[in-house]
């Protein structure tokens, strides 16, 4: 019994700590910190973009809003494909914007294009 309580307490603490250090807004993800970022959180969305891509810039504010709406649930990162070549190569990205979705460090879904916010929300909710 005590052990069970201890376990619950430990879990609560972990959750609390997680939410306390949950990032504000989307985080910059690079080839270097990509694996660390994706493995640190349960559900992760990575927005692959570049400054010369108009639809990417169109998607930007939506990603910002989602980072707020899903704070504590989905970690959202932005990866500039102009500066980071390894991740796009690994996931065979040939079009931007592309959003990569991860659950428990596993790549589970990919979405291409500046999709409406509702569509992205739907995907995220289905992963939670």
């Amino acid at each position: 019994m005590d052990e069970e309580l201890e376990e619950i307490r430990r879990k609560r603490m972990e959750e609390l700590m997680m939410s306390a250090e949950w990032p504000d807004g989307p985080q910059e993800v690079t080839d270097q910190n990509f694996e660390e970022f994706v493995s640190k959180y349960n559900v992760v969305l990575i927005d692959c973009w570049a400054s010369w891509c108009a639809p990417c810039i169109r998607l930007g504010p939506i990603i910002d809003e989602l980072a707020g709406d899903f704070k504590g649930k989905v970690a959202i990162g932005k990866l500039n494909i102009d500066e980071n070549r390894d991740v796009p190569m690994k996931f065979g990205i040939m079009s931007i914007p592309t959003m990569l979705f991860f659950v428990d460090n596993q790549h589970v879904d990919t979405a291409v294009g500046a999709l409406p916010k509702a569509n992205i929300e739907q995907t995220l909710n289905s992963l939670l």
Binding site: A54, P61, M94, G113
Partner: protein, 306 residues
């Protein structure tokens, strides 16, 4: 609730220019743009036919026009108009974020890319199929791509891709390109291949695009050619759903019907730019936006139908 004089739908060249003119004439306006301002012109690799600029990147030109417009107009970016109605007095505008009222509406909603509608197009989107050379050309450097289309946009995109160091082939369904002669000359001098009289029938690929199936429309011959990517640039579809909600007249070609003053079939409703068809360019979109704003200003001061 404060009633606007004019609500402008769309922040491309037409909407932005309408905003500049309407606001400078003293009208109280707001502009709604579901994405970022600039519209389709944001994806033009460069623009060489907008007077005052010998050559300028589409995104840069639109940033400049956007900055100028913002001196006068509040642009509600990221706010899309979801529905429109008329209660007999005013237009009621429901957006993704709220509700507004306006005495006049200017449609400047532009268009979206037309799809080929062939097998493989949807499933290989983002894995070789693209509608935006400036977005995705980067991924195909030193590879081989096809451009489907024969107009100015297709030609400009082909030249842009070739300059990135890509092996480019244009696939066009007619026996001559429609693009203007200066672009055709560039295409010839750069050694861009053109396959005439041919349409894409299917796009093949397992994990990514591998080849295209082409049909010669004159001989009916079928061929399969290997490519790494295909850029589809076969024109656009006007965004008229919102106009239909108000019952605005649509012409046989599917564009909003307007007269030379950009007035639509409904009083106090105007349209400008690509959504009205005709010669679809930045300069004409700007021009029509200016005219639409002027007509709205005239009608708000003195309705022509009374």
């Amino acid at each position: 609730m404060e009633v606007l004089d004019v609500a402008i739908i769309g922040g491309g060249p037409a909407g932005l220019t309408a905003g500049i003119y309407a606001s400078r004439s003293g009208l109280k306006i707001l502009m709604f743009e579901k994405g970022i301002s600039g519209g389709a012109a944001n994806t033009a690799p460069w623009v060489e036919n907008y007077p005052g600029f010998e050559a300028i990147e589409g995104m840069k030109l639109m940033d400049m026009i956007g900055a100028q417009a913002r001196k006068y107009v509040e642009v509600k970016a990221g706010e899309s108009i979801e529905s429109l109605a008329n209660d007999g007095n005013e237009f009621i505008i429901k957006t993704s974020k709220g509700e507004y009222r306006a005495r006049a509406i200017i449609y400047a909603t532009g268009s979206v890319h037309r799809r080929l509608g062939v097998p493989g197009e949807g499933s290989l989107l983002g894995r070789g199929v693209s509608y935006c050379a400036t977005c995705d050309g980067f991924f195909f450097r030193e590879k081989k791509v096809a451009i489907v289309g024969g107009g100015n946009n297709a030609a400009t995109e082909a030249i842009y891709l070739k300059k990135l160091g890509i092996d480019v082939t244009i696939i066009h369904r007619r026996d001559a390109l429609r693009a203007e002669e200066s672009l055709q000359n560039t295409i010839a001098s750069m050694g861009i291949n053109v396959i005439y009289d041919s349409v894409v029938e299917e796009i093949f690929g397992e994990k990514k695009l591998e080849k295209l199936k082409l049909k010669n429309v004159k001989t009916s011959d079928i061929s399969e050619i290997e490519f790494d990517g295909v850029f589809i640039s076969i024109g656009d579809i006007p965004q008229i759903e919102l106009a239909k909600e108000l019952g605005v007249g649509i012409n046989d070609d599917g564009y909003i019907d307007v007269d030379r003053t950009q007035r639509s079939s409904i009083p106090m409703v105007y349209a400008a730019g690509d959504v009205t068809g005709g010669f679809r360019q930045i300069i004409t979109a700007c021009s029509e936006g200016a005219i639409a704003a002027n007509s709205a200003h005239e009608d708000l001061a003195k309705p022509y139908w009374i």
